[in-house]
Symmetry: C2
Subunit: 202 residues, 2 copies
Amino acid sequence: MRFGVLGTGTVGRTVAGKLAELGHEVRIGSRTAGEDTVEFADAAAFGEVVVNATSGQHSVEALRSAGAESLGGKVLIDIANPLDFSQGMPPVLAFCNDDSLAERIQSEFPDLRVVKTLNTVNADVMVDPSLVGEETDMFVAGDDEGAKGEVTDLLRDFGWKRILDLGDVTGARGMEMYLPLWLRLWQASGTGHLNVKVVSAG
Amino acid sequence: MRFGVLGTGTVGRTVAGKLAELGHEVRIGSRTAGEDTVEFADAAAFGEVVVNATSGQHSVEALRSAGAESLGGKVLIDIANPLDFSQGMPPVLAFCNDDSLAERIQSEFPDLRVVKTLNTVNADVMVDPSLVGEETDMFVAGDDEGAKGEVTDLLRDFGWKRILDLGDVTGARGMEMYLPLWLRLWQASGTGHLNVKVVSAG
């Protein structure tokens, strides 16, 4: 399958690498084309599926420059977090509570089939969940059931065995608002190779 | 030990019941004295330790009516969440991100030794963590190490074996912002008897 991965940071490159390893064709999109990257619009047009791994605070802007025409009605996997480091550490969320990045993207591009996932772990764990040492949970949220099904299949290819559907795109609020807790868990456990396992009596 | 539990909802009554079961003396505080409750100020004055189980959006107000004199430099265990149901379901947080209920309480009553804990599970699980079927994690956050130690001992009496210190009182931000995710996990798993186990390579 063809993937357009928007974002040239650690997360984008790690996911792009994993997709290539799985035999997919990948183009990495950036603001300006570089040695191994193309412009956002070209990466988005190339992909049958588009991955948003841009800095969350600026993702909507990046997607605007990719253009609604390139994005069309594709599945967009949103793995970004709207972290705002402008006030120093720890970062806050640029928006949250009754809003989320995934919702902003869905609302700006109503034809896109947005699925929020992977934003609750670091890049290494995204593509190798076994790193944390025990099966843990990955979440998906989005309005389009078919898109969630496709993304769930991809997550299984990444090694995820426990995938929990948190409902429509507003489920992204909780997934993004988990970040401040995740940052503290990172401090407390001394490693970014961490995740949570949901345990219930159900 | 003597405990003043502020709040007559399910959470307050469940925790008060458990404390009594453990052999502690407990008075439940309410806005107005009732059959088995006393006024906030009397419950706060009675307790060597005070538990805030009032509705989070109105906790600071409730503590003001308890009075700084009754609260003194006691340990205050803040188990409330500032949920705002005024916009309907799902609730949003009345404040969050660069703020939290525990911080507001600490800032309003600088002598109190505030420890945030237990707000990440429902009332049943607070006092019987075995209900979820596997050992899971409870978090504590607060500025006073001694107070966190006392609360950790109490949590062990409640049955908690995995207790993770998330640092100073600003750690409460992540614990409170976890609520929207927790509500979705409740929907997805079909039971409030749920919690997360933190798994890390560390």
